[in-house]
Every structure is written in C-alpha cells, then in structure tokens.
C-alpha cells in the first residue's frame, strides 16, 4: 500500500524510557524524542521532480547540574548511541560551572498537562499517485500563455511525533500533521519578469477538499498566470507617502519581523546578538510601552486549530495557553519560555521550541496573531484618499534591532478617493516599527481574517529553521513611504 507515512505507536515512548533509564541517579534531566516523516513533491513545467521522502528520528537528552545545562543530541538510537548521548549531556553539564549564564531546566511540573487531541488522526493524506495527479492538474492550469516561462506546484506533508519525559514526572506525547502547499507562475516580458504565487502552511490533512478550501484550485492557478502577465504591463508603484492597506498575506511578514522577533525574550536578553540580532524592546517596557495604536491586539495563540504552530506543550514541557502579548496597543508580555523568563524575572509563555531533537530549544514565535476588528475590506478602502492596497509578500528586510524595515510585494492596487484603481508592479514600502504600528487606524473584521503560516523562520546558534503561524485581518496604516522599481 502506498502509505505516505508510517505510524510508530509506542516505539518513541520506548526509546524515551530507555534514555530515561540511562539517567538514573541524575537529579534533573529531560528527554525529548522525535520522529518526523515528510513527503515532498514538486511539479515544474510539466515534469515531476523526484519525490522525496524523509524519516528523521533523534533524541535530545538534557541534564542539569548546579544550574548548568548540558545537551546530548543523537540520531543513533541504539543502546550504545543513547548511552553516548547521555554521557555527553552529563559531561557538558559539568563543564565550567562558574562560567555559565544561569537558568536551568524549568520548575517541576505542577499544572495538569492538557491532553493533545490530534483532530486529524482518522484523516488520510492523498497517496503519492493522487498528489502527483493533483499537482499536475494545477500546474497545467497555469500554462495559459507562452510568456509564462515557469510554473511550479508543490506539496509537502509532515507527520511529527514527539515524546517528552522529565524528572518531575512530565510525560507528554504530541502528534502534528503539517502541510505546505504552493503555486507560482513567472511571466517573462521584454523588459523584465513578474511572478505571482499562492502558498499556505497549515496543520491538517492534505486532501483535495482541504486544499480547495484554501483556494488551491485550477481557477486560482490560472488567475495567478493572468495576474503575472498583467503585471508585465502594469506601471511601477509610484513613489511617495500613501496610506497602506495590507492584506493578510503581507501582514504575515509585517507581524513576523516587527512584532514577533522583537518580542523574543532571549533576543531582548542579548542571546542572539551574534546572529539574528537584538531588540529595541527592553525588559522594563513590558507593561509600559505603547507599542501601537489602541486597535493593535496581538495574541500568542497556540490553540488556534489548524494554524501551523499550534501545540499543547512547548519543548520544555510547559502547557501552552492563549495570551495577549499586546493589548489595545500596550505591550504586556514577551515571547519568553521558562528559562529566559527565569533570567529576566518575568512570567513565561510556553514558547520554547526546537526545530528538531538535534538542536536545543530556544524562544520562538509559535502562532502570533492580530485580533480582527470590525471593518470590512470595503470600509477600509473607503477610508483612504490616497493609498495603495498590497498583497502577497515578495521581499523582507529589517535591521538587527528590529526598527527600520522594508518590504516588497508581488502586486499592488492604487486607491484614490476611496476607490480601487489600477494595478501597480514592484510595490515596496519602508518604515520604523513603533511609528508604523502607531499609524494603524483600521483593522478588518472576521471576513478579512486569514490563518496563514511561514515554513522557515531562521534563528539560533547552531542555526534552527522552524515553522510559525500568523493569522491576521486586513489592516490600514496611515502615511507610509512607498516606492516601486527603478534602475
């Protein structure tokens, strides 16, 4: 039978217990075992690239000694391999105890761990043959004109299972079904090329019905090609100060770069200064800094069904609960897990995550969402005299303290006197984080709200790439510097 993924039942729990048994006599320890199965398929210009499966299995053993942590990660799950990892973790925990930054494993578990119910346990993904047919069907729908030189349709599904044990009695098992799908059409013109894309990262089964509900349809595929062709003849986005309306597929990056990353507590504490950077936010800003307009409400939402980074517990075993990070524009709390929160003297949220068991967990975004407001998209547009509506993100850049940003999108529509006008190409905008969020004066309602995600957020040393979720309505911002393409 052509089953996309294998099921492991109690296998991972057995491995976790074997690792646990090796830590007898160790006062404080944690074992994280992971199995991740992936199947990726890409059809490009009518040709299926070789389908790729992977089955990654690893263990991360963490030992604490006198407040210092040591990690032993291994893909060798034999008795000897686990023994080596445990030995390494103990050894590393004992190294240079007087030269440590401080903060060990989280406090012993006291809260009851919420049961994680996998809502799609009985749902079956498309078989490989079905995926190939589905991808070909969408890809060929983009072939509407000889100027479409590139057409790509991809689908990748992942089943991830993790088991966590620690000395305080935490025993957690979580299973995720992750799906990433994408379409892209590139139009080649006499003086340049334009593309349009459509992508989703979500939790749930890869079925035609689920994907159709996310607009992966032949009609949408053909529309992408038509839009790319239209962009070839569109004028450049004009330069000047305009009001912006950002659709959810651009709000994703805006949230990610100028709210999510600056609020990561380990970054605020300076841990990322050599790589991903620092933050302008200081510990004393929580509870005092007006981050944005009163219309800005930002939630850490690990319970959003179907969003890419939903989970019951983080990778330190803390139960994850929905909470405001920014309420009515006021900064309330950081994205800090137990370890960072202990260092900073703040309350944690359960956001410590590792990309795999081959990396130590660090503070990460999970699902970071903007709460919807009341206005329809038409009302948002109607309130703009001189502006531009921006769609799918294409480019992102921000400084290492998360203040000066610049974004580019695949397309824009001008707005004049409350009415949508013509298409423009190469729209970009730039600004500074706090003034930008203070310029927020319109938040779309539930009918503009979309749950989206990003598959690859990079951070940490050694580096880690992880998936995050960002849900947002359309939003309006006043007086932003916009510009287009030029030599």
């Amino acid at each position: 039978m052509n089953t996309p993924h294998a099921q492991y039942g109690n296998d991972l729990e057995a491995i976790a217990r074997r690792a646990r048994d090796l830590l007898a006599g160790t006062a404080r320890w944690r074992v994280l075992v992971e199995q991740t199965d992936t199947l990726g398929c890409l059809v490009r210009r009518g040709v299926l690239q070789p389908p790729e499966r992977s089955a990654r299995r690893a263990v991360l053993i963490t030992v604490e000694e006198r407040g210092a942590l040591g990690y032993g990660a291994t893909t060798d799950l034999s008795a000897d391999g686990l023994a080596q990892a445990a030995k390494r973790a103990r050894r590393m925990a004992a190294v240079l105890p007087d030269r440590r930054l401080g903060a060990g494993l989280p406090a012993d578990a006291t809260d009851p761990v919420p049961a994680f119910v996998e809502p799609w346990a009985d749902h079956v993904d498309m078989t490989l043959a079905e995926r190939i047919e589905w991808l070909h069907d969408l890809e060929i729908a983009m072939a509407i004109d000889d100027r479409i030189h590139s057409r790509a349709a991809l689908l990748e599904t992942t089943r991830r299972e993790r088991v966590l044990l620690d000395q305080s009695g935490r025993e957690q098992r979580q299973v995720w079904r992750l799906c990433q799908a994408g379409l892209r059409a590139v139009a080649v013109g006499a003086d340049g090329n334009q593309w349009r894309s459509h992508g989703h990262s979500f939790q749930g089964p890869a079925t035609p019905e689920q994907l159709a509900a996310l607009d992966f349809t032949r009609e949408r595929a053909a529309a992408l090609s038509r839009d790319a062709l239209a962009l070839l003849d569109a004028p450049e986005c004009p330069t000047g100060t305009r009001d912006l309306i950002l659709l959810p597929e651009q709000m994703t990056l805006q949230i990610h770069e100028s709210i999510g990353h600056p609020l990561e507590l380990d970054r605020i504490l300076g841990d990322e200064r050599n790589y991903a950077g620092w933050s302008f936010v200081r510990p004393e800003d929580f509870g005092t800094l007006q981050y944005g307009s009163p219309q800005l409400n930002v939630l850490f939402a690990p319970d959003e069904l179907g969003e890419f980074a939903s989970y019951a517990c983080d990778d330190e075993g803390l139960p994850a609960r929905r909470t405001h990070l920014i309420r009515d524009g006021l900064l309330e709390r950081p994205l800090g897990g137990a370890r960072s929160a202990a260092r900073a003297g703040l309350e944690p949220v359960a956001c410590t995550r590792a990309t795999s068991a081959l990396r130590p967990p660090i503070d990460r975004m999970a699902n970071l969402n903007i709460a919807p407001g009341e206005q329809s998209l038409g009302e948002l547009i109607g309130g703009v005299e001189h502006g531009v509506l921006l769609g799918q993100n294409r480019s992102w850049s921000i400084d290492q303290r998360r203040e000066k940003f610049q974004f580019g999108c695949e397309w824009g529509r001008l707005i004049e006197d409350g009415e949508l006008q013509g298409l423009v190409r190469n729209p970009n905008y730039r600004g500074r984080t706090l003034p930008f969020w203070h310029s927020l004066d319109g938040v779309g309602g539930a009918d503009t709200f979309q749950v989206l995600g990003l598959g690859n957020c990079g951070k940490g040393e050694p580096n880690q790439s992880i998936g995050v979720g960002h849900a947002s309505p359309a939003c309006r911002f006043r007086g932003i510097e916009v510009f287009g393409g030029a030599a």
Binding site: D76, I132, P360, S395, S397, Q406, N426
Partner: protein, 438 residues
Amino acid sequence: MNDLQPLIHALAERLPALAGDGETLFAYVYGEQTDFARLSRSRINQLGHIHQRRLTLTLSDGRAAVKDTWDIDAGALDTLAPRIERLRGDLAASPDDPYLSLDASPRTAHSGQPYEERDLEPWLEALLANAADDDLVGIALSGPQGFGLASSLGHALSHRSGGLSLDASLFTPTHQAVKIEWSAPADGPADPAAALAQARERLALLGGEPYAPAPGRYRAYLAPEALTELLGVTVWQGFSRQAVESGNSPLDRLFRGTAGFAPGVRLRELREDSNAPPFGAAGHALPGAVDLVIDGRAGDTLVSPRSALEYGGTINSDSGMPIALTLDGGDLAEADALAALGTGLYLGRLWYANLSDPTHCRVTAMTRYDCFWVEDGRIRAPLAPMRIDASLYSLLGPDLIALSRERHRLEDTSSYDRRASGHQLLPGALCATLPVTL
C-alpha cells in the same frame, strides 16, 4: 569521527545486490560529531554535542527516480532493503522524468582533511578567561564531518572535513560591535587570542556618538564582508541555469545581455579551492572552475545535472548555486581604502539583504557592526543603523571606482541542519555613489 570510508565501501559492495533489473541505487551519506558552545556576555549559554548521521537513497529505473532520507546507526546496511521496497512503490507511481540524470561513470576517490575530535573544555576555558572583561557573544563549533556517495554502479566517494571555529561578536556597553570569524589552523595552535586582541582594537574605533547621515547618495567603500551580503541575493537563483531560463534569476538582464558590470568585474565559481565535497548527490564529477562573469559580461551559468538535460549545456554544478563564489581583486591597496574614499561611508558589514527590485537587481540591506562616517580619509564617527538600496549593476558597474587588491576568504558559517561547506573570496569595492534611504 567515524570515517565514512568503510561505510561507503560497504554500501558500494551491497547496493549492486539490492538493485533489481534495470534499477540503479545511489546512497549519499552525511555525518558529523559536533560540540557546540553558545556564548553570551562571555559566559556559556548553551553547551552540547550533536551526533548526526543520515543516508539519502535514490532509486531509479532509468525512467524516473525517487528519494528517501533517514538517520542511520551501525546497522545502516540492514535498513536498506525495506526502504528500497517502499521506494519501488513510489517509483511505480511516478511518471517518466525526461530530465533524470545520474552519473554513469563510477569511480573511487577519497578527499579532504580529517579532523579528530578534541576536548573543547580547555580551549573554552582559555577563551572565556581571555574574554572575561569583554561582552563576547557567539558560537564555537568543533568536530569532524564526513560526506560519502556510493552506488550500485560502483561509485565509492568520500570526503572529510570539519574543524574548530569561532563565530562571535564583541560588544561595547553602547551596543556597538565587531565580528570575529576565526578557524583553528590545520597546523598550529588553536588559539584565538590574536583574533580577540585585533577585535578589541577595532572595537575601540566604535566609541563616540553615532552619526546618522540623511537619506541621500554617498561615496562608499564596501569591505568584502559587506559586499558578500549584497552578492548573497544572487547566490540562491542568480547563476542557476534553471533560474535564468525560467525567469527567476535576479541577474536576468545580465544573461539577456541588456545589463552588465564594469569591465574589471570577473566572477567565478572556484570549487577547487573549497572545503566542500568534490562530488554531487547524483555522482557527477564537477569542474574546478566556472567563469560566471567575464569582463563584466555574462559567462556561463551553473548547470545542474537536470538543467543540462532540460536546457542543454555541460554539467558544472550540483544544485545551480555557487559554493565558492570568487571575485577578482583590483588595484586598490586595502591600506589606502580610507584615503581613496575621502569623505563618505565605510561599510564593514551589511545585514539582511533582500531584493527590492529583481529586474534591476536592486538590493536593500542594513548596516551592522563596524561601519563608519569618514571625512578626508579619516574615521570620524561610527554610523547609526542605516538602510541602503542600490542596484548591483550600478554598484559594480558605472559607480565602481576600484576593487581592492587584497581579498578576504569568507567561510559559510551557517549551521541549518548541518555545518555548511563553502566560502566566498571577495575584495572590497570603492563606489562613487551608494543610496541611503532610511
């Protein structure tokens, strides 16, 4: 580490028996044993060890191919048969692939330099003692790496690398910083003390109130460490044959012939000087050098095995991405860079570059680390964070005044999924005008 040669030879012996009629099997293996020490404020933040070994198996029936990757231990050979059986099911479901290209010329070769595991603790202790009064932030990585490829046709290739490296920053109390990128020499003491001392000297230049130039156009010197960030936007799809033909390359105009760089710009892919394995996952031998830009005009693209069949050309790359991008130097002595700059911006590093206008290869980025305002050839003040936005066709074209004679070798220090291989070798660039936008 556990040298991969025995495993590769064992795979080369086993795979022919496992391949069915008309089938070909390729097995690509990667392994590492890495100690990591993550530092902040000259103290240990996270300390650990990573053991990783994985195998990627490609099964082909000559008509199509499918792949599977899994982690292996000492019993790796016993895991092959069931995986192959499942892959046969995948293969049966896959349509013909007209661009399938697996190397059909088996060979045996072993390359690279071994690196023995060493006890990191004494080295770490010495480093942190030396930096006790500094604010040192970063990562030390130590350990061996191995790569290997075996096939049912008889390929048996392996490559060894690894080392001890420090990628770190030194910070002032006012948040200015300089970068330290140090690797232990193959021969000689593994002592970064000199690198730390030099970094402190550079850090001293960053005292004083930062200067924020107004948006506008400025004369600028881009150190190699800044130029690499801008050229980085071309690495992903710039030179790939597949990207150029499909309209995805930001260097589209270069390869159309409607844009170019200054005549002194020569860019090459020089694998022969790289620490990366000299073989790709499909087994093809790759040339040591590819001319990408010659006298400012388009040369060859990087042609992967698949692209060679899809678009024509000779295979000269594994993936279409350069792993050893090299820019020839010019006539400007680095020691004369400030004097030649006169008044303007000295950019030691740039960060978070991205394309703002792909058609014109226009790139935006932020300043970071040792960037200065210079007047009459003398450093006057560190720069406040600034955003630039400029076309590479301009910066390395009509606005290019000179390239430095000396070049810096910039190793790829990323560690997503595994420790990266590869580097860039670049000079600095003196430019007549660089747009500052924010």
